[in-house]
């Protein structure tokens, strides 16, 4: 399983042509208490850069963008009753959706863990 990151603070963990997407620990810290997560529809076709999900905190609503193109294959339904998972386990149990990739080459444009850490350090 390889994990990539985007400048917008999404992470994507890839195994074969399936990927799991979520937001990073830095992002959840910035957002504060998460109150609701709006997930994409199962089966939705996403284009890289589309707003696929919205994460609400009390005073803000943040778009989560699709890091790569593909089709949504599963949703983290646990977030319906426990949106706080995104705060407590953003890079684990607080994952948002899974998708099948349509163009694995897009992964080449993403950051690895070290590059993302450097990116965050500059913010």
């Amino acid at each position: 399983m390889t994990r990539y990151f985007t400048a917008d603070h999404e992470w994507i963990a890839v195994e074969g042509d399936t990927a799991t997407v979520g937001i990073t620990d830095y992002a959840q810290g910035q957002l504060g208490d998460i109150t609701f997560v709006e997930l994409p529809a199962e089966g939705a076709v996403l284009t890289k850069g589309d707003s696929a999900s919205v994460v609400d905190s009390v005073k803000a609503a943040s778009d989560v963008y699709a890091p790569v193109s593909g089709t949504v294959s599963a949703l983290n339904t646990a977030l319906e009753d426990a949106p706080e998972l995104v705060n407590s386990a953003p890079e684990g149990e607080g994952w948002l959706w899974k998708m099948t990739l349509s163009d694995a080459a897009q992964l080449d444009g993403l950051m690895d863990e070290a590059a993302y850490a450097a990116h965050v350090a500059e913010l």
Binding site: E38, D56, S57
Partner: protein, 452 residues
């Protein structure tokens, strides 16, 4: 000037503290050409309270008020008895001059009222939840269409022929800009609301069906039947209630299957006020709550564990979502919601039932009396406190003639639907617990004269 506390001495001290010679210097960023050299010519100068009161009283005297004459107008605005304490309580400065409760620690008064109001509206409508009010029934009706579109991801709304034409007009204006397709119809003059035609218009692309309950002619549609038909096609049923007092007598729309219920709360607590400000009511199923427009008040606790109320789910609203907001609404109709809530608290469910019953019985008396006038026929088989009659002549002329004889006898349907010639003879007549035997007798006698 009585509303401006600064004296010349104060201004002098303040200008010195600011470091400018005069107030004009503070407007230095206004281009010279745009700065007026003196008070706007052609507009009068300031006036004493006495003078303003005199002027306004003269204007007030130039209208014939509902309380002075027999009064039978409805069609979306109703005249009921509002207990004297309501107007006193809403004028308490802590309610009247408070702002939107964005600082909950010092706004628990407003917030608790909103929570109580939401509960009252939800119970009245038979819905799981209700919001803290919208501008009025017509804009609430449009918001329901928009919401149904978001939920179903369809954009074809079917509006029943019994929906108030102003509500239809409002929706048509908005739909022009959003691209929603609206299927509309004129009201028929059958004894019942035409559910068959409505049901026939629902298809697999329909987002919602809107049914007014009771309808613009006062007929009571079979909501359960329409709900089943709508839901069979994946569409939502939106019930529209322009006279909430009627719900004291007939079943709540939510209990009959409505997914969204909207309405006009004016008849409880708010008064006629020549058309505004009024009170939009909005209720829906729990599962749709994050798609609701408008403000919502929720329960929580404070740092000491004390029960508290707070505006919540704000991320739907425009000040946060900006372009992606569920609607662009900023204000609710706060003071009107308070008036409604106080009136509803004084009534309770049983008081509302008595009020509705009295209003209905007056309608029955009026309908019976009117139909004894030659040429006057009742359209409705059933009604609550508003019904339609057909006259032998255009109703608009009759309304005018009655007014000249100091009787406000009803609303001509043609006032709301000017183009429809087959509806020209229809008069809408409304009653309430305020209607007296003398009112009915005078209406009947005067109508007899006018039609003779």
């Amino acid at each position: 000037m009585r509303y401006l506390p600064l004296s010349e001495h104060d201004r002098g001290e303040m200008l010195a503290a600011v470091g400018v010679p005069d107030v004009g210097a503070l407007f230095v960023d206004v281009p010279e050409a745009a700065r007026l050299s003196g008070p706007i010519a052609g507009l009068p100068g300031h006036a004493s309270e006495m003078a303003v009161e005199r002027h306004m009283a003269r204007l007030s005297a130039q209208s014939l008020t509902a309380g002075e004459v027999p009064f039978f107008l409805g069609a979306g605005a109703y005249r009921h008895h509002v207990p004297a304490s309501v107007d006193h309580l809403i004028q308490r400065g802590e309610f009247l001059t408070a702002y939107t409760p964005y600082q909950p620690e010092i706004a628990q008064g407003t917030l608790q009222v909103l929570f109580e109001f939401q509960t009252q509206v939800a119970r009245l409508f038979g819905t799981d939840v209700a919001n803290a009010s919208l501008y009025d029934g017509s804009t609430a009706c449009w918001e329901a269409i928009a919401m149904a579109g978001r939920i179903t991801r369809r954009n074809r709304a079917v509006l029943s022929g019994g929906l108030h034409p102003h509500y239809v007009g409002t929706a048509q204006t908005m739909a022009r800009f959003t691209g929603d397709r609206l299927v509309t119809a004129l009201p028929t003059l059958g004894a019942h609301a035409d559910e068959d035609a409505l049901i026939a218009a629902i298809d697999g692309e329909t987002s919602c069906v809107l049914v007014q309950y009771p309808d613009v002619l006062g007929r009571v549609p079979d909501l359960a039947r329409v709900a089943a038909a709508a839901q069979a096609k994946g569409a939502l049923l939106v019930a529209v209630v322009t006279e909430p007092v009627a719900l004291g007598l007939i079943e709540s729309p939510g209990a009959l299957g409505a997914d969204i219920v909207v309405g006009e709360g004016q008849s409880l607590g708010v008064g006629l006020q020549f058309g505004g400000p009024y009170l939009g009511l909005f209720g829906c199923r729990e599962k749709y709550v994050r798609q609701m427009p408008g403000r919502l008040c929720g329960e929580t606790v404070d740092a000491d564990g004390q029960r508290s109320f707070v505006l919540t789910l704000s991320t739907r609203e425009q000040h946060i979502r900006r372009e992606k907001a569920t609607s662009n609404i900023c204000t609710n109709s706060g003071l009107c919601a308070l008036a409604f809530s106080i009136h509803m608290s004084l009534l309770g469910g049983e008081g509302l039932a008595r009020m509705a019953r009295a209003s209905h019985l007056r309608a029955v008396q009026t309908a019976q009396a009117l139909t004894r006038v030659p040429g006057v026929a009742l359209v409705n088989e059933t009604y609550v406190n508003e019904f339609a009659v057909t006259l032998p002549r255009p109703a608009a002329d009759v309304v005018e003639a009655l007014a000249q004889r100091r009787v406000l006898g009803g609303v001509a349907l043609s006032r709301l639907l000017p183009g429809a010639s087959d509806l020209a003879n229809v008069l809408l007549v409304a009653t309430s617990e305020l209607t007296t035997d003398e009112d009915i007798a005078t209406l009947v006698a005067t109508l007899g004269e006018v039609l003779a």
